[in-house]
């Protein structure tokens, strides 16, 4: 039996066979010398690729939704494009191997897309590369992607966003990655899917592990490979208790979030992607309390266009069918940025040019985003909130920019809904100035993660500071209480969207402080509702 640790990102017990995931690397074979033979190889590989894509379409349509399936559908059409096929054929006739011809043609077409003005079309370069890469891998005799015959536990170094699309999510019982962090793509995915997972796991990734029995304990952050009978018995017991709890939670689906004494609270979900709306609805969230915008900007070569942003926000608003979404404007800084922002390296990015500060310095970036948000607001209830506010002047400045944008849009004849404008309370300055700030905005949403790190001067990414990062620190609780009181004094609502909102030991405290909304991971909504319904807190 092998026992090891990792950092748990979602609690629960998973038991199953190990699947080791490795991103394959292929070197291209040269031509066999006969173009006719190479052409035949290509035709055969193309057919296999089409079959694989069709199988992926069938899977993703059911699990990930229409958008991902559409991307694959487009890739299939690309494989049948005459320009694309002509180019491959010409290269083969000129002595290239099938694999070389596909690679070269894919790169050329990708470059053409990447050079287009429209950001949406630029992003299609990835699709051409992806589909060409698939054919190349087939030609090189490797299996593309990754298949799982039965449900199991996936072990990997780490997974990139495009890899997470390809893996068969319906068969994954748990992720165990050697790298990553609690905010890495895999961790976020695990939380949204609600499966126990470990990141930063101490594990030797070896293909010898393939097929062996494994148990992941997401409560304790432990794993067992080839567990003995005693461990299996203990873990099964633990799993049954967890499953039983889950069944109990289901009885809270569709119920109102109200304490025994009649205190109501809204339970919203945090999401990072339009496709997460599905999970929010599955988790029974009453709305979205934090929609991050970063995904729209990261992992690409240029700023997204207004239409692209609008399309993403539109998907969310439409998907929510009348529930509210609180969209946070771009919150990136030197630690998490895309190259095209050209932000200077900073000694201390947590205190640097980030969040609303970037938007104030670069009105054009802000303008494009606000226009997209305002356009989406015509389709359903939308609130917008600004991150990293520290001063009243910042809010006034942003409001002035917003009004200008709105006027401009009204003149263009565009529809704008009734948008609430709020701010994140995540700097101690904002918390201390809450009374003044409350007069300027429609709502507050407290980001407890940053508020904790700034209040305590503790970098939450720094592992050697474990134990100093204390979200229950009295200083923090005092700020939280004052923020809620200031909000209500000014007649506006206030919520919490940091990790602390999902902490069930804090629920009574937050209700007592008067918070009107708590926004948590989609999979945590039901357990929070249970806690609220069992609470004795009186209405204010």
């Amino acid at each position: 039996m092998i026992v090891g640790n990792g950092h748990p990102v979602f609690s629960g017990i998973a038991m199953g066979r190990v699947y080791v995931y490795k991103s394959g690397q292929a070197t291209l074979p040269t031509s066999c010398g006969d173009p006719a033979e190479e052409k035949k190889n290509f035709e055969a590989a193309k057919l296999v690729a089409l079959e694989q894509l069709q199988a992926l379409v069938d899977q993703t349509a059911a699990t990930l939704g229409e958008e991902q399936a559409m991307i694959l559908d487009v890739q299939m059409m690309m494989l049948d494009d005459l320009d694309y096929l002509d180019s491959i054929d010409a290269m083969i006739q000129n002595g290239a191997s099938a694999a070389e011809a596909v690679k070269e043609t894919g790169d050329t077409f990708a470059a053409t897309f990447a050079a287009m003005e429209d950001a949406y079309m630029q992003a299609r370069a990835v699709d051409v590369r992806d589909v060409s890469g698939r054919v190349v891998t087939i030609l090189c005799g490797g299996k593309v992607g990754f298949s799982m015959e039965e449900p199991g536990i996936l072990i990997a170094e780490d997974l990139t966003p495009s890899e997470t699309v390809q893996i068969p999510k319906d068969k994954i019982l748990a992720f165990v990655t050697r790298q990553g962090s609690s905010n890495s793509h895999t961790a976020i995915l695990a939380r949204i899917m609600g499966i126990p997972s470990l990141v930063k796991a101490h594990i030797d990734i070896d293909s010898e592990l393939d097929g062996r029995m494994m148990i992941v304990d997401g409560f304790e952050g432990r794993y067992f490979i080839d567990p003995d009978a005693e461990v299996i018995r203990l873990m099964e017991e633990k799993k049954n208790t967890a499953d039983e709890y889950q069944r109990q939670l289901e009885t809270y689906r569709g119920k109102e979030s109200i304490t025994k004494q009649g205190r109501k609270v809204k339970l919203f979900a945090n999401i990072g992607n339009p496709s997460d709306v599905e999970h929010a609805l599955k988790g029974d969230a009453e709305g979205i309390g934090l929609m991050r915008s970063e995904f729209l900007y990261l992992g690409r070569n240029d700023f997204p266009s207004e239409d692209e942003l609008f399309n993403a926000y539109r998907q969310v608003v439409e998907g929510l069918q009348g529930r509210r979404v609180v969209i946070r404007t771009l919150d990136i800084g030197a630690d998490k940025q895309a190259d095209y922002f050209h932000l200077d390296k900073e000694e201390n990015p947590a205190l640097g040019l980030r969040g609303i500060r970037i938007c104030i310095r670069r009105p054009q970036v802000f303008r494009t985003q606000m226009r997209a948000i305002y356009r989406a607001s015509a389709l359903g209830p939308v609130s917008v909130m600004f991150p990293m506010i520290a001063s009243v002047w910042e809010v006034r400045k942003v409001w002035e920019m917003c009004q200008q944008i709105r006027e401009e849009m009204i003149q263009e004849g565009l529809d704008i809904g009734d948008v609430e404008h709020g701010i994140m309370i995540e700097t101690p300055a904002a918390a201390l100035m809450a009374e003044q700030l409350a007069k300027e905005v429609d709502f507050f949403s407290v980001g407890t993660n940053d508020l904790t790190q700034y209040t305590l001067a503790v970098d939450r990414q720094n592992p050697s500071l474990d134990g100093f990062y204390d979200p229950y620190h009295p200083a923090l609780l005092r700020l939280l209480r004052e923020v809620a009181e200031s909000a209500h004094k000014a007649g506006i609502w206030c919520g919490i969207c940091g990790e602390l909102a999902a902490d069930l030991t804090m629920t009574d405290t937050f209700l007592d402080m008067g918070y009107d909304e708590l926004s948590v991971s989609p999979t945590r909504v039901l357990s929070l509702r249970k806690k609220v319904c069992e609470s004795e807190v009186y209405p204010k």
Binding site: M70, V74, M78, D81, L82, M116, R124, D127, N311
Partner: protein, 86 residues
């Protein structure tokens, strides 16, 4: 030759999926030569990469030129497609 013009209504323009569907719809008319023009660019309507590379946006005018034995039917069918999808 039959020509039809159409102004794109879809807020995200002629994006990948409709481009593919349009190429498929055009491909169904094997005997016809179908060209599509937006602004100064003209491409073969049966080729998805070309159609996507038009980068046509909401408010742009598409011009479809169909020539061949069944050009009237093809033009009518494609016009119907544009109305329903774009």
């Amino acid at each position: 030759m039959k020509t039809i013009t159409y102004v794109i209504q879809d807020p995200i323009g002629l994006h990948a999926r409709p481009a593919g569907q349009l190429a498929k719809a055009a491909g169904a008319w094997k005997e016809c030569d179908i060209k599509i023009t937006v602004g100064a660019k003209t491409v073969d309507a049966k080729r998805i990469m070309g159609v996507m590379q038009l980068g046509a946006k909401q408010g742009n005018t598409l011009t479809l030129a169909v020539s061949g034995p069944q050009e009237a039917e093809a033009a009518a069918a494609l016009e119907e497609f544009l109305k329903n999808n774009l």
